[in-house]
Symmetry: C2
Amino acid sequence: MAEPDLLTPEPDAPAPEEAEGHVTAALVEAVSETIRTGDAERLRSLVGDLHEADLGELLEALDADDRPGLVELLGDQFDFTALTEVDESVRLQLLESLPTDVTVEGLRELDSDDAVYILEDMEAEDRQEILERLPLPERAALTRSLDFPEETAGRRMQTDFVAVPPFWTAGRTIDYLREMKDAPETFYEVYVIDPAFKLLGTVPLDMLLRSPREARLESILKDEVREVAATEDQEEAGRLFQRYNLVSAPVTDEAGRLVGVLTVDDIVDVIHQEADEDIKALAGVGDEELSDTVFQTARGRFPWLLVNLLTAFLAASVIGLFEGTIEQMVALAVLMPIVASMGGNAGTQAMTVTVRALAMRELGRRNVRRIIAREVLVGLVNGVSLAMVLGAGAGLWFRNLDLGVVIATALIVNMLVAGLFGTLVPLSINKLKLDPAVASGVFVTTVTDVIGFFAFLGLATWWFGFL
Amino acid sequence: MAEPDLLTPEPDAPAPEEAEGHVTAALVEAVSETIRTGDAERLRSLVGDLHEADLGELLEALDADDRPGLVELLGDQFDFTALTEVDESVRLQLLESLPTDVTVEGLRELDSDDAVYILEDMEAEDRQEILERLPLPERAALTRSLDFPEETAGRRMQTDFVAVPPFWTAGRTIDYLREMKDAPETFYEVYVIDPAFKLLGTVPLDMLLRSPREARLESILKDEVREVAATEDQEEAGRLFQRYNLVSAPVTDEAGRLVGVLTVDDIVDVIHQEADEDIKALAGVGDEELSDTVFQTARGRFPWLLVNLLTAFLAASVIGLFEGTIEQMVALAVLMPIVASMGGNAGTQAMTVTVRALAMRELGRRNVRRIIAREVLVGLVNGVSLAMVLGAGAGLWFRNLDLGVVIATALIVNMLVAGLFGTLVPLSINKLKLDPAVASGVFVTTVTDVIGFFAFLGLATWWFGFL
């Protein structure tokens, strides 16, 4: 009696971030209780109707020990697609504890792209064991996908698709679809191919529906097709989808034969994942997940912090050059972090804009000079305005007009440097075919720290005659 | 004769970032020359076949003065959809210089969502002038969309859709589609509605095609429909698409009536745009575009830099408390930026992970305690390892073991603080219903600067007895 209510969020209780989906704390509680009592009937009534995304969220919310129980109790009512919706660590832990034949049966129900997604992160041995138990056609399709490198279109493609010859009519194609048994779960286009499986064109379903029954496909097909090579990077495929507003795209092998289809739902995940990677890379966070443990997380972030420690020593050694100056005027030590910090922030702004423009392929030979010039000038404009505030503030604080002039000048120099290196560093890293999001930050802030301290302390040494 | 070659990139010349699409420097050159000579024929042969995305890129690459010429020379061959692919400043500049009737005619050809996208950023007066010249049905549809708040589903929806009654058969629906005149350009689902325009369910096109002609829609429709309220935020709609792998979703008004359709191509742009906003917000860069001028850019970034200047004064004033200590031991001034910088980096890591988890709705009451605890412990683990490196380095550099102990301790303290505030700051900002990506950075680095300087200099003052 109470169960149906558990499926929808209570009207008042949940925080906004929990209201999404149907997975409330009460449902999680009820499910884990039911798993422990082994009541398959009740479990089905609780979660049988959940969408795969919600089922995935439920899996993540359960204790690790309860997860295999959920899968086994639900039996063939458990949709393995849910495993594509959970963190990698949760997925691997669950697959490890499931009997192999349960996994094999579960994978057989899936679209090939989802099965590949689940298989690709498993240990090679376990994966082999599962593949060997699959019927030959399925095994062959999955193996072919898995043979393509990671993060390529070949890994993300769905290998079931509808392909028909050009002389078929719209009517015959529709009749064929009605009778087809192994059609993909959803599809948006019919592919028209020649006998060698070369792609001649595509017919979107709405076009197929709107054509007269007797129209031949060769007369209605769209022959300007944006196809994706199976070895193409998934990020590149994502850009193609975004640029040309695609919902699906055919994937071809080296010989130009149609081997699969990419659909937009996978691409949406790719776009999200790539943006996420960029955001995290800019902050010095690697490929980590919310479910990672303390030690996994700490280990992943340590290298970046270590590099930062070494560059911080470099900046400190610049200060070390001016120990004598600081001894004579401690105010310099008080003020110097301001110049460095402002440069770091301005440099990060310029760098972020450059990294994003590179990621979105908006920056090319055509406009790169303009952007570098713009960033330097932005540094100058903001440098001059902020230098007036900083100069006045510092001068008043220490009742020393000269100190105000020195720090203002140093700030302008550092802001110019920030604009210049904020663009040049990611551009150079990109030229070297490396990901500018990963390494730019540490270089840019090192430069602005070193120049910031050097400009301020050096200028002060010269101005006040401390040499 | 040479023209067709201009449409494809030369095999050797272009850098990878320019190779995408068909817009080469040579094409831009040829087009702007052709515009100046006014040769409409040649212009059409050059750009007539370009996809709207490529046409948009071409527009951006042209001199501002040449852009209206391109539109007017191409006449009805110019696809106004290209205007949805260019930066806002380019779009507004171009619309300003086009005669109103050219714009009116161009907009009439568009899907309603594209027309709204172009109209929404225009001056209210200009927009009104254009709307008044449109035929009543189109004007009414556009006005209704424009009445919804910015960045809502109502603004992004397409108002042409296919809606039919539940007693129709699959066959009758297909016949209706064949004869329909004002069908949307592309669609993926047919909507089944009652006489009051309330949504009963959806029939995806592949399901419609695979059903027998005599099947009634009410027997094949999917009644678990994920509909979007027209007033819903577009970001929220994007999450729904992503979570449930949708390609389109019906949009309903307050009365529950079907008023439009959101399609995944718009949502892909929304997802991209929102991720982009988050990346830029984290770096203190607002809503800026690559085509912005120096002054627009500088003005947009200034407020963040000014706030940073004020917080830098705060950190400097903490150092000011210890002037006496620094005078007695200048090494402290040399080393203190290291402690602050390490805390800033660790805090940014924790903060970025938290901001992303909040944006993706992965963080709720269920796991928030675990994440805070994890981040503090990560700070402790990395703090202890890095403290050993830093302590040894500093101790050796200044041949002062005590100094090594003091800086190592201060680093551990600051790393703990970084983990704690790196999570608490974005969580608190989120609680206040503000965007944690925008303001978290400045708070987190202020805390790690202040605590970094205070812990190190305070500890040194006490340890070495400088009081």
